[in-house]
Amino acid sequence: MSDAQAIEQGGEAGFGDYVALLKPRVMSLVVFTALVGVLVAPGQVHPFVAMTAILFIALGAGASGALNMWWDADIDVIMKRTAKRPIPAGRVRPGEALGFGLALSGIAVVMLALATNLLAAGLLAFTIFFYAVVYSMWLKRSTPQNIVIGGAAGAFPPMIGWVAVTGSVSIEAALMFMLIFMWTPPHFWALALFMNEDYSKAGVPMLTVTHGKKATRNHILVYTIALVPFALGAGFTSIGGPIYLVVSALLNAGFLWGAWRIWQRDETQAEADSYAVEKQVFKFSLLYLFLHFGAFLAEAALKPYGLGGW
């Protein structure tokens, strides 16, 4: 782009715009869960290799975020929350974001394979494909169950971290996956209850738009109940232990109580206190996931002192 063109159009991307394409906030969650996956896995891996693995798992997640922004630019421009993203704001052209996302996906997968093993790299490639193609291109705009199945993409990082160390998938890795997978729907539906306006304008079939808020409240309760066995079950495997079980029991009781309160309310009550309970539960759900993975980490950290694990 020539100087004159760039100045006229008022937009040429800065370094930060390319960073924004990677969805750094989502990446921070990926870094944390992948780190836990690496650290709780049995077996030794050189710290530098572990760091490299986490970096490229996060980069792969970021690359899928860029691909998602490329595909969703038309709806991002409509929603207030996303209108300032680099593509709808006109600072990055869609083609650039596509090239950026594809190139980084390739780099992340190849580097993870070189640093660790082919299975971990294959899982990362599948995660990127799942988020960009299955979720963004296919499910997001076609079914109100988009969140449920799309949640799988966010659930893979701890499993990839585990596989990077051990070279195989196990019950522990599967339970970490299920914990995030089952947690995603109630977490996002609680958000959707008080963010409804935006999704309806963009025509994204969120459950709140297609089936109404009452059905969404029912779904939140059912999914929260279904989440409990996976969360507690992980406590009886090699990555769990008494500390994890206590933390998990308290958090699940809290989350169930929140889901129950959401289920009992109707729209008039919710509007009267501007969705106070829904907002509370949404915030609690973030803490719920963070502390569960924190507890896995605590068990692994205390194991050498004979305090963690079973």
Binding site: D3, A6, I7, E12, A13, G14, F15, Y18, H46, F48, V49, T52, L55, L114, A115
Partner: protein, 65 residues
């Protein structure tokens, strides 16, 4: 004395170029570090290639031409 008018866009480009430079340097350092770790952790390794290594030939076939 500068003959070109400075615009905000030039600053943004400089930032982008410096950022990309830093990322590339970091990537090179990372690949180098990874190589060092892989090579030092792989155990005993012979430091030559493209030569006959009699110790790798099965014992029964060692004497055959």
């Amino acid at each position: 004395m500068s003959f070109r008018a400075e615009h905000e866009i030039h600053k943004r480009r400089l930032g982008r170029n410096l950022g990309l430079g830093a990322v590339l340097v970091a990537f090179v350092a990372l690949v180098f570090g990874l190589t060092v770790v892989k090579v030092t952790n792989v155990g005993q390794m012979q430091g030559f290639d493209h030569v006959v290594r009699p110790e790798m030939v099965p014992a029964t076939e060692a004497g055959k031409p």
